[in-house]
């Protein structure tokens, strides 16, 4: 009887079929669209806390879907970043080698960034000269130079490409070459 009662409960335990939140990065006054499909009674818990790390102005909004049925409970959590204007972030891709040029390219996560954020400035982030290709623009960034506004208003999401020539030492020994290239960005909300 014990086994039967447990198995009967199990056949009706809660389940989360889907749970989505969009966008995953917002400004302080933006809305988030949250959808879910569950078996069982669903409750959405919302909790804000500071973003971990040195930046004290950004926050993490945690959306936790708790589903209960027949005494069982399951949950799933999605984090949404709440960013103020002018916040600094990073775009980074792994490198491949084409001749003597390191290329780091890819799509900056459109689900993470959505449509609400543009570039304000870009700055070199790997300690070496970079050529940056993005949204039809090409620009050169030098280490330790001031933030560059050439990409002002272009989307944060989407295709990016960084190029950098190998140094003489790296040419002689590829083990010295970096496995990633990055830029620092400041973003603006619109």
């Amino acid at each position: 009887m014990v086994a039967l009662s447990i198995s009967q409960l199990q056949s009706c335990k809660p389940r989360i079929y889907s749970f989505t939140a969009n966008p995953r990065t917002i400004g302080p006054n933006d809305s988030i669209q949250v959808n879910w499909k569950t078996r069982g009674m669903a409750t959405l818990l919302i909790h804000d806390r500071p973003m971990p790390g040195p930046d004290t102005t950004s926050r993490l909004r945690e959306l936790t879907l708790v589903v209960q049925k027949n005494g069982h409970e399951i949950s799933k959590m999605i984090q949404v970043a709440v960013l103020p204007n002018g916040i600094t972030d990073k775009i980074v891709f792994k490198t491949v080698l084409h001749g003597d040029t390191l290329i780091a390219a890819g799509v900056n996560n459109p689900l993470r960034w959505g449509d609400a954020f543009d570039i304000r400035t870009v700055q070199e982030g790997s300690g070496r000269s970079l050529t940056v290709l993005h949204a039809g623009h090409i620009l050169h960034l030098e280490p330790s130079s001031e933030p560059n506004k050439a990409l002002l208003g272009t989307p944060v999401k989407g295709n990016w490409e960084f190029r950098s020539l190998l140094t003489p030492a790296e040419k002689a020994d590829h083990r010295l070459a970096p496995d990633r290239l990055s830029i620092l960005i400041t973003v603006q909300h619109h």
Binding site: A3, K13, V92, T95
Partner: protein
């Protein structure tokens, strides 16, 4: 020599956690600065996914995860992320493997990047600080459970990934111990992992496999063999009633395993006369998909299958703790260990001058070579054991969680197939050894019949 003073060796292998995930806090919190765990700034451990940078984070609370974390061979290759430019393992693909596996956009704090604070793993942290923590213990192969456990208890593997398959047990520890005339016993808390090896069923159903509940009493009374293997209750194994897995396999909360570790340590120190000659080894089969920052060294391994499958590195680091009066209290061992270090040590101890096997010896002779656990021992004994923290450990509970639907993992399917075949082919012995399986089978068949 310390090795001569050790008469009893206890092996406890948990499931699926990386060194940084469980013990990265040792250096991060300044509790054991010599251990190669995590340190500020955590940005130095960045993982990359679709242009984004993902950083290790302190797990807010110990809860059941929403899913397992990927750790099969191809996924481990993604996690290790060998650079096509400089040839190095960059350890930067854990989030990418997780996103591919879940088919979901990862959180800023993606689950593979989480690490526990000392207060969340109080027993593991206590033992690591009280005895000897090994910070260069890598899983033998950069792949999943079945090949790594086979390496741990056979010294070689015919398989390169986990699946619903017959796993050969060539070179197994039990045969070796018998041939060497060494007494041994397995204490299993639930269905034994060795049930997945049909060639080992005579052992699994024999008198040397005992219920875990007897361990403390046996130790207390001095009824102690030379080698003891302690098995937790596996997440993927059949379960019924209040029996709850405690092997630390994700998505389990970690508290169950912490309590099991506490109980096993309490058994190890229960009898002072036994304790003063004991070495207890706590280790994990593999990293379970959780981030670790130390790249495994390049290392050539092949399966014994024809044609062989070749690995070019060890697997990610796992937590390894040596608990004994014959290790220096509060020490860190940096020697290169993998699971065959245990087998190497057993041979060093019980058959001096004669290696465990040619395969294990070949791993010792490679460059870099796998060391024996004896590298961590100390000739100076500290005989008084320290009791473990006695505070409560809070965990979630849900009875009968694996009854209603068939397992979707290869490990779960393997366990169920082994249990069912064993019940069909060896019904009398199974009824004596694993009586709970009959109620489990009835409940499963009833639940799934509709």
């Amino acid at each position: 020599m310390a090795i001569e003073n050790i008469k009893t060796i206890i092996l406890l292998m948990f499931e699926n956690r990386s060194f940084d995930h469980m013990l990265g806090h040792l250096s991060y919190e300044g509790l054991q600065p010599n251990a190669d765990g995590l340190r500020e700034p955590l940005q130095q451990y960045e993982n990359i996914y679709q242009g984004g940078s993902y950083i290790p984070f302190s797990i807010p609370s110990d809860t059941q995860l929403s899913s397992d974390i990927p750790h099969e061979f191809n996924q481990v290759a993604t996690q290790l992320a060998r650079s096509s430019v400089n040839g190095k393992l960059t350890m930067s693909g854990f989030v990418e493997a997780y996103a591919d596996f879940t088919q979901e956009n990862p959180n800023v704090q993606a689950e593979p990047m989480g690490f526990f604070k000392s207060t969340q793993v109080p027993i593991t942290s206590f033992l690591a600080r009280q005895y000897c923590v090994c910070d260069r213990w890598f899983s033998s192969l950069p792949t999943s459970t079945q090949p790594n456990r086979t390496m741990a208890f056979c010294g070689e593997s015919a398989i390169y990934k986990t699946g619903l398959q017959v796993i050969p047990a060539t070179g197994n520890l039990f045969d070796w111990l018998n041939q060497a005339g060494i007494s041994w016993r397995v204490y299993h808390d639930g269905f034994s992992f060795f049930g997945l090896y049909p060639s080992l069923w005579s052992y699994v159903l024999g008198s040397k496999f005992r219920d875990y509940e007897r361990l403390y009493s046996d130790m207390q009374q001095g009824d102690v063999p030379q080698v003891i293997i302690v098995e937790p209750s596996y997440q993927d194994a059949p379960h019924i009633g209040p029996d709850h897995p405690n092997d630390n396999h994700a998505p389990l909360a970690i508290g169950w395993g912490e309590d099991f570790l506490r109980r096993t340590y309490e058994a190890a120190i229960a009898n002072p006369a036994v304790w003063k000659e004991t070495l207890m080894v706590v280790y994990y089969d593999e990293h379970g998909g959780f981030y670790d920052h130390v790249a495994p060294p390049d290392f050539q391994s092949q399966t014994t299958h024809t044609p062989p499958f070749t690995f070019d590195s060890l697997g990610p680091r796992i937590p390894g703790i040596l608990i004994s009066p014959w290790v220096k209290s509060g020490s860190v061992c940096h020697s290169l260990f993998d699971h065959t270090s245990v087998l190497q040590f057993l041979a060093e101890k019980f058959t001096p001058g004669k290696p465990y096997s040619a395969a294990v010896e070949a791993r010792r002779k490679q460059t870099p070579g796998i060391a024996s656990l004896s590298a961590a021992l100390s000739d100076t004994s500290s005989l008084q054991p320290t009791p473990p923290p006695a505070g409560p450990i809070f965990v979630q509970s849900a009875l009968g969680d694996t009854i209603a639907t068939p397992p979707d993992s290869a490990m779960g399917q393997s366990f169920e197939q082994a249990a069912r075949q064993m019940m069909t082919l060896k019904p009398k012995k199974v009824r004596d050894k694993y009586p709970e399986l009959y109620q489990w089978k009835a409940a499963v068949d009833q639940a799934r019949s509709g």
